[in-house]
Structures are given as C-alpha cells and as structure tokens.
C-alpha cells in the first residue's frame, strides 16, 4: 500500500524541473511530453508521450524521471509511454516557444501549417526577426529540427518543425 503523501501537483512540479536533454532551456512539461501522474494503490505512474518515434532522448528522460522520484523517496514509481493522442508541437507552451527563440531556435508554427506536403512557410530568424530566410535542409542535428539561414543577418539557425 502506497502512502499517498505526495500529491499529483507536487509530483508534477517536481518533474517539471527535468530539462529536455537535447534542448536544456526547456523542460519536459513545457514541451508537452509530461502528460499526467496517476497515483493509485500500486504506486506512482508517470504518463509520458514521445515526441518523435525514434527520439533517443526518450530513454534519457525516462531515466531522469525515475532517478528524481527515487531521490525524493517517491516509490514505487514507473513511467508509461502513451502514444495516443499523438504528441504535437501545439502542446508546447508559449513560454517554451519564447525560451526556444532566445536560445536561437525558431519555434514551431502551428501544426495547421503542416497540411500540405510541400507547404512553403515563412520562418522568422530568431536572432534578427527577419522573414527573409531560406531552408538549407529539412533535417537537422535532432529529428525535431530543420536547418535554415537568415538572408539578412546571414546567421544559420535551427527551426523546430511543426509536428
């Protein structure tokens, strides 16, 4: 029998301190990955949703959650990956988008921009805000980002794809 001396909101607050291992300026709650914490007689079940199917950060995040809960003696705990509904960048908070921009990553547009296969969206440079940018590659250093260059300030930058 679990002593429910930790509330759902306390655990949520605690887990919100865990950064995204690939983009450490944002945390897993702001990214919309942390979906829920279910407290039952069997223990604490953290519901997490994967961003991209093959994202290697998921294993690290699961590990970080379990390690943090263990250090706070919150037990027994487990992490369950849920696929439905599928994660979308629309779940990212405005705060997270602002942090991404300050970090030099153009935040995702609303996923409705993603309807056509060859949608040609205007991505603003996160450094000088210019709309005069061009796509270098649809794929970047992680599955969630594309590579762009600003034609005005000439800086290359990453864009967090809308998904």
């Amino acid at each position: 029998m679990v002593k429910t001396n930790h509330t759902r909101s306390e655990i949520f607050k605690l887990l919100s301190a865990i950064p995204d291992p690939e983009i450490p300026v944002v945390n897993i709650q702001e990214m919309g990955m942390l979906r829920d914490v279910i407290i039952s007689e069997e223990g604490y079940n953290v519901l997490l949703t994967p961003t991209y199917t093959g994202c290697p950060a998921m294993a690290q995040i699961q590990h970080d959650i379990l390690a943090l809960l263990a250090s706070e003696h919150i037990a027994p705990a487990k992490v369950t990956l849920i696929l439905e509904p599928a994660w979308t960048t629309d779940w990212m908070s405005e705060q997270a988008k602002e942090k991404l921009k300050k970090y030099g990553i153009a935040p995702p547009l609303h996923s409705s921009c993603n309807q056509g296969v060859f949608a040609n969206n205007t991505i603003h440079c996160p450094l000088c805000n210019s709309a005069n940018t061009s796509l270098i590659s649809r794929f970047g250093s992680t599955p969630c980002k594309s590579l762009y260059q600003c034609n005005d300030c000439k800086e290359p930058f990453e864009y967090f794809k809308c998904h």
Binding site: P56, N114, S137
Partner: protein, 252 residues
C-alpha cells in the same frame, strides 16, 4: 486465422519494412555526399527505427508469448521476415537511395494517412506519428529526385538507371493476402488499391518533373511478404543480429 493473428502479421510486416529501410539508410552514415545529407539520411533512419520499434513491440504483445521488439528484430531468420524486397536491395549510389526512398516514402505517406483512421487504436496512434515523419521523407526525396533527374547528364543517367532497377519491385508494395483482407473488412488495415492511385499520381508527376522515363520492362518480383527473400536480407541479418546471436540476452 484469428483477427489477432492477422494483426500480428500485418504489424510485423510494417515493422520489418521500417527496420530494413532503417538499416539501409543508416549505412550512409558518414558516407553521404554532403554533411546536410548525412544528417538527413540518418534522421530518416532514426524515424524508421522508432517506427519499427513501436510496430514490433505491438506485434510482440499481440502474439502473447512475451516477445519484445528486440526478440522479433534479433531472433527471427530470413523466412520469418516479411518486408517487401525493395527494402533490402543494396544501394548502388546516391540516386538509387533517393529513388527508392521516394517510392517507399510516398507509399508510406498515403498508407499511414489512411491508417490514422484504423479502428485499431494502437495502429491509428502509431500511424499518426508515422505520417508526419513520412511526409518529410517524401518531400525531401521528391526534391532530390527532381534535382538529380533534371541535373547533369551523369546524374540523369544514374537516376534513370535507379528507376529501371527499382521499378520491378514496386508492385509488391500493393500485394494483399488473407490477413490484409480480414483486417480490411474490420476497418483495421488500409485499402492498398486506393493508396495505389495516389501513389502513382505523385510518382508520375515527380518522374515527369525529373525528365525520367517509365521503364519499359513490366516484370514484377514478389516473395518478400511470404518470407522468400533476395540473397541480400541474409547479409543484413547476419550483421544486424550478430551480437544477440553470439551473446544471447546481452544488454547495454
């Protein structure tokens, strides 16, 4: 065959297609013509690995024998693999990789679009993720095939050569068996006839823009989905499964 057995077969086939594609794409790591393309090919490989993991994990649950996705990936031999033959062909050059990926990603984009409304919730959830990724793969390879086909004489020659070689493996993508038919009736599987119309339209439009002609030979290979493979799959598995075969149950 029960519906659950049919679904096991269906998910294994989709998972095997993703896994073998991932293997071929990953072979480009550090060998691509430009750095951006090295990233793109390995990104696509990673998407495929993730997709294979989800599908084989679900297949393992459906089989009910406690098999994990790793058991299915590392402990089945060639006749138990049901990927389409096109996935296992070795890459001749960059044009071959791009043409193959255009053919398969376009198929997968329409397939997973249809599967988002599957009556099986897990299949629909996996499809919802896969379709977004497939769309990027399709857009990326479409651009490249047009650029190569409508490029220099040499790039055009190689693109045409790749399509000639790959075309006889395309019909197999649209094959159906008893499992498909059972699942289609239950609203779980996608209707490949509808997918074929959309696929043909996109492939023809891209081919025309790339100034590449349709291969005249209409012979079509078949067998992968029934476990009859080319010699190449054995070579893939012997490398991919080496560690688990040599050291069973080894863990990271």
């Amino acid at each position: 065959m029960t519906e659950q057995q049919a679904l096991y077969k269906y998910c294994t086939q989709l998972g095997d297609n993703a896994l073998i594609q991932s293997y071929r794409l990953a072979e480009w790591c550090s060998r691509a013509p430009i750095l951006e393309e090295d990233l793109a090919l390995t990104n696509m490989a990673l998407d495929m690995t993730g997709r294979a993991q989800l599908l084989l994990q679900y297949a393992g649950q459906l089989a009910g024998k406690g098999q994990t996705e790793d058991d299915l990936a590392y402990r089945r031999s060639e006749p138990e693999y049901s990927n389409s033959l096109i996935m296992e062909l070795p890459d001749d050059d960059f044009a071959f990789t791009m043409v193959r990926q255009l053919l398969t990603s376009t198929f997968e984009y329409f397939l997973y679009s249809a599967l988002t409304s599957s009556t099986d919730k897990t299949v629909a959830a996996i499809a919802a993720k896969a379709v977004k990724e497939a769309k990027y793969h399709m857009a990326h390879t479409t651009d490249w095939v047009i650029r190569l086909g409508d490029g220099t004489d040499e790039s055009s020659r190689r693109t045409q050569q790749a399509l000639n070689k790959l075309w006889p493996y395309t019909e197999e993508l649209f094959e159906t068996d008893d499992a498909h038919k059972m699942l289609l009736a239950a609203g779980i599987a996608a209707d490949v006839n509808k997918i074929k119309a959309s696929w043909s339209e996109h492939i023809n439009a891209t081919r025309t823009a790339a100034k590449i002609t349709m291969p005249s030979d209409d012979y079509q290979h078949s067998g992968g989905t029934r476990g009859i493979h080319t010699e190449y799959l054995g070579h893939i598995l012997s490398e991919m499964q080496y560690l688990q075969r040599a050291y069973p149950d080894a863990k990271w």
